[in-house]
């Protein structure tokens, strides 16, 4: 059978001594970089591009870069859980319940949950990439502007579920996020919007800067307020591993998260971002006790973490089968391939089977390495929390600044971190959640861009959203979510959830 032969070739390629070494270096570097707050995979891979020149062998170079990518996804969750500082859009959701778990002394369990969930998701998604890459690509290509628009509507409607305070405040935060997302050049007319004449904001505000500000810097400010009794210091760390009961509770969320993440990750542009948000919403909907969410629910870590890792793996599909980058990291990988003399395109699987299957096999090996690497490290990461705040906080701030600056070498991004930090502090005082704001910020531009593009393509005919089947189905799903939200019985239940802060 072809698949077995191909996989055998892949594992053969990926398990040569050198490639195993590159894979290990990649996941190790990725984990370390991911753990440094603010520094993400994009900046790291950009920094390491010149080194791939020296490796000489394209397979090794790409295996290493891929390792950095999913290693950083892992590491990013670590900072989200420990210090409420998501480094990537996908780990913003992990911060919601992961950080609460950490505050309750369950940081170890949260980290282990993230690691195990990611491994399961990584394994399943790698299998999917191997088995179904071409058919999944065909589905992704069916997504035009109208479909993306409807998908974003589903995301937006579901976003209210992210809130665990007042719904009105959550909607307000989504709208603020949408508005912040409008900053920058309108791609249809070239007009700069809300940039105050600052050309550095012509391409919009930086997501990492916003996330680091409203989550991380705001958290630091809040902690400084409480004098020396910083809450982050966890007096009692009760067990590094999840309990048997916790393990049992995470099985279903991990599987659901994997399915969602794998499906959404294939969509270039925005799909992977939705995956973790969608998974969190889903888990909260199906949970026996939704009031636990936001207070340290293990499902709220397991689901989104699996989803984002599965999405990270399947986002390789458009690149491997079409030569099209699904996100900035994939664009860098394509750059690295070209430097190595391989121009990615639709024929890469046929022309370079060792490379294609080697990368796929290395993903699974890399995930295995990550789990082996990370489980023992959990104790070490948790110990970081015991570092006195007068040392830890300046270090966090310094790394955040380096990380944000390295994305575009843009000082104005740093000014925005400061602004977002202050705003985040005010939001915390007003008991407004930053997560819906981030979702609005990410979805807003996509929503607008695709709405207008769909209207251009349909020559101004709005029925395009209903006559295209996939789009129509997505809008029906959005409608169903709305109905569920406003159904009396459900509403009563939800009010129980929100009662404490309403």
């Amino acid at each position: 059978m072809d698949l077995l032969q191909n996989l055998a070739l892949g594992f053969q390629t990926a398990s040569t001594l050198w490639n195993l070494l590159f894979c290990f270096i990649g996941v190790l570097l990725g984990t370390l970089i991911g753990v440094l707050p603010g520094i993400g995979a994009t900046a790291t891979i950009a920094m390491l591009l010149p080194i791939t020149f020296q490796i000489g062998d394209p397979v090794g170079a790409l295996i290493m870069l891929a390792g950095i990518y999913y290693g950083a996804q892992y590491g990013g969750s670590t900072t989200a859980i420990l210090i409420n500082m998501p480094g990537e859009s996908s780990s913003a959701v992990t911060a919601l319940d992961g950080y609460q778990m950490a505050r309750k002394g369950r940081a170890g369990a949260a980290l282990a949950t993230a690691a195990i969930g990611s491994f399961v998701a990584g394994t399943v998604a790698t299998g999917l990439v191997a088995l179904f890459a071409p058919p999944l690509t065909a589905i992704a290509l069916k997504f035009g502007a109208a479909e993306y628009f409807s998908l974003m509507i589903v995301g937006l409607v579901s976003s209210v579920a992210l809130a665990h305070g007042s719904v009105v405040k959550a909607i307000a935060m989504v709208i603020i996020g949408l508005l912040l997302g409008l900053v920058g050049t309108d791609i249809y007319s070239g007009t700069p919007r809300f940039t105050f004449g600052i050309r550095e904001y012509a391409d919009g505000l930086n997501f990492v800067a916003l996330a680091v500000g409203v989550f991380g810097i705001a958290e630091i400010l809040r902690n400084l307020e409480t004098d020396r009794t910083r809450e982050v210091i966890v007096a009692k760390v009760s067990g590094l591993m999840p309990t048997r009961d916790e393990l049992r509770r995470m099985v279903a969320p991990v599987l659901r998260g994997t399915a969602l993440g794998s499906a959404l990750g294939v969509l270039p542009g925005g799909g992977a971002i939705l995956a973790s948000f969608a998974s969190y919403t889903l888990e909260k909907r199906v949970a026996d006790n939704p009031s636990e969410f936001g207070q340290g629910a293990i499902q709220g870590v397991a689901g989104p973490e699996s989803a984002n890792n599965a999405g990270a793996q399947t986002s390789f599909i458009p690149m491997l089968t079409l030569g099209i980058p699904a996100n900035p990291v994939m664009a860098l990988m394509i750059g690295a391939m070209i430097i190595q003399g391989i121009v990615p395109g639709p024929n890469v699987a046929a022309e370079q089977p060792a490379l294609f299957w080697g990368i796929i096999a290395s993903m699974w090996i890399g995930n295995l390495m990550l789990v082996i690497l990370n489980l023992p490290l959990i104790g070490l990461w948790v110990k970081l929390l015991t570092i006195p705040y007068y040392i830890l906080f300046p270090i966090i701030m310094a790394f955040c600044s380096i990380g944000v600056y390295s994305v575009n070498s843009n000082v104005y991004d740093l000014f925005f971190v400061a602004f977002a930090g202050l705003a985040g502090y005010v939001f915390a005082k007003l008991r407004c959640e930053p997560a819906p704001l981030l979702l609005g910020f990410v979805l807003g531009p996509l929503l607008e861009e695709n709405l207008r593009r769909a209207m251009i393509l349909s020559r101004g005919d709005p029925t395009t959203f209903f006559t295209r089947p996939i789009s129509a189905i997505l809008l029906l799903i959005a409608l169903a979510v709305l109905v569920v939200v406003f159904l009396p019985a459900v509403r009563r239940k939800r009010e129980e959830v929100f009662v404490e802060e309403a």
Binding site: I51, L141, D203, L322, A326, M333, P346, R459
Partner: protein
């Protein structure tokens, strides 16, 4: 961050002995600013050239990505940088078009820089979704003209090469079409592959593999000669539309006031780099060629920039699109 770069490079790269004594310049690493994000076509071109120039200069040549605002942020940074030959700019055709696209530039594209030389002129190809009916370029133009209300043209955003070429195409066939802008080449190409939009004109760096793979239909190449990698593809001139000859030319610049001997040294180094085996081979795979010796000179680049600013001004003004 720069320190990290240097440290990492130093650790990973083999040490290159510097040519001490003979020349004062360069005494330390040279930085080439790319005004676009890492991983894109211009970035790739720069990294390939930088590696070869490093060999010749005997110093590291670092690539720094300062993306944003259609390449004008990076260009502005270099325009203001110290004119000592240690900060350079590698910019493409956008240097010429930004002079018109942006009405409030903080620098004067023609006078804020010293010229080092042309690097490469990347050909462009006119492609369509793979089930687009016309069989050759002549039929294509007729079809587009006859169906001007239906045909949609994708581009990667205002000021992008695909946007410029699209404008030129519409001006050459004297037929306005519906333009569909995207945020970058990736999503635009995805929609072309998925058949959501009809046509696009983009650099060979982005289209060659898709054409070879049969995922898009190619109609013509915008260079005077046919390409080695796509020998069956006719040129626009062969097909009777010479006004559509265009390339995404890349040039290397230094801030105004750089010592002439430094510019000369850089120019020589660029010429050497463009003959480097690896550079020639990689450029070839992307469907382009390094600029010939006589074009990798300050005079040639200056002349090119002047001509191109004048060529694009009326086209952009007629289209009435501005990026600020």
């Amino acid at each position: 961050m720069k320190k990290m770069w240097v440290a990492m490079l130093a650790a990973a790269a083999f040490a290159v002995p510097s040519v001490a004594g003979a020349q004062a310049y360069p005494e330390r690493a040279v930085t080439i600013v790319v005004p676009f994000s890492a991983g894109g076509p211009t970035d790739t071109v720069t990294r390939l050239v930088a590696e070869a120039m490093a060999k010749d200069l005997g110093q590291q040549v670092l690539v720094e990505n300062v993306g944003g605002a259609g390449g004008t942020l990076g260009a502005a940074r270099v325009a203001e940088a110290e004119a000592d030959g240690y900060t350079l700019l590698l910019h493409h055709i956008g240097m010429a078009t930004s002079a018109t696209l942006y009405r409030k530039l903080p620098y004067d594209p023609l006078n804020a820089f010293d010229y080092v030389g042309l690097v490469t002129e990347v050909p462009m190809t006119i492609v369509a979704r793979k089930d687009f009916e016309p069989q050759d370029f002549k039929a294509f133009i007729e079809h587009v003209k006859a169906n001007k209300d239906q045909v949609t043209v994708a581009n990667a955003g205002i000021g992008a090469a695909s946007h410029l070429c699209g404008m030129l195409f519409m001006s050459a066939i004297e037929t306005p079409l519906t333009t569909v802008p995207y945020q970058g080449t990736g999503p635009a190409m995805t929609d072309l592959l998925g058949g959501q939009v009809d046509i696009m004109c983009d650099q060979t760096t982005n289209t060659t593999k898709q054409i070879q793979g049969g995922t898009v239909k190619a109609y013509a190449v915008t260079t005077p000669e046919r390409l080695d990698v796509l020998p069956d593809l006719p040129t626009v001139t062969e097909a009777g539309l010479p006004a559509l000859e265009v390339s995404v030319w890349h040039g290397l610049y230094a801030p105004k006031g750089t010592p002439p001997e430094v510019v000369e040294r850089l120019s020589k180094s660029l010429q050497t780099a463009l003959q480097d085996e690896n550079v020639v081979a990689r450029f070839g795979e992307l469907g382009t060629t390094p600029s010939p010796q006589e074009d990798a000179t300050p005079q040639a680049l200056k002349a090119k920039l002047e001509t191109e600013i004048n060529r694009w001004r009326p086209i952009i003004e007629a289209a009435g699109v501005y990026a600020d």
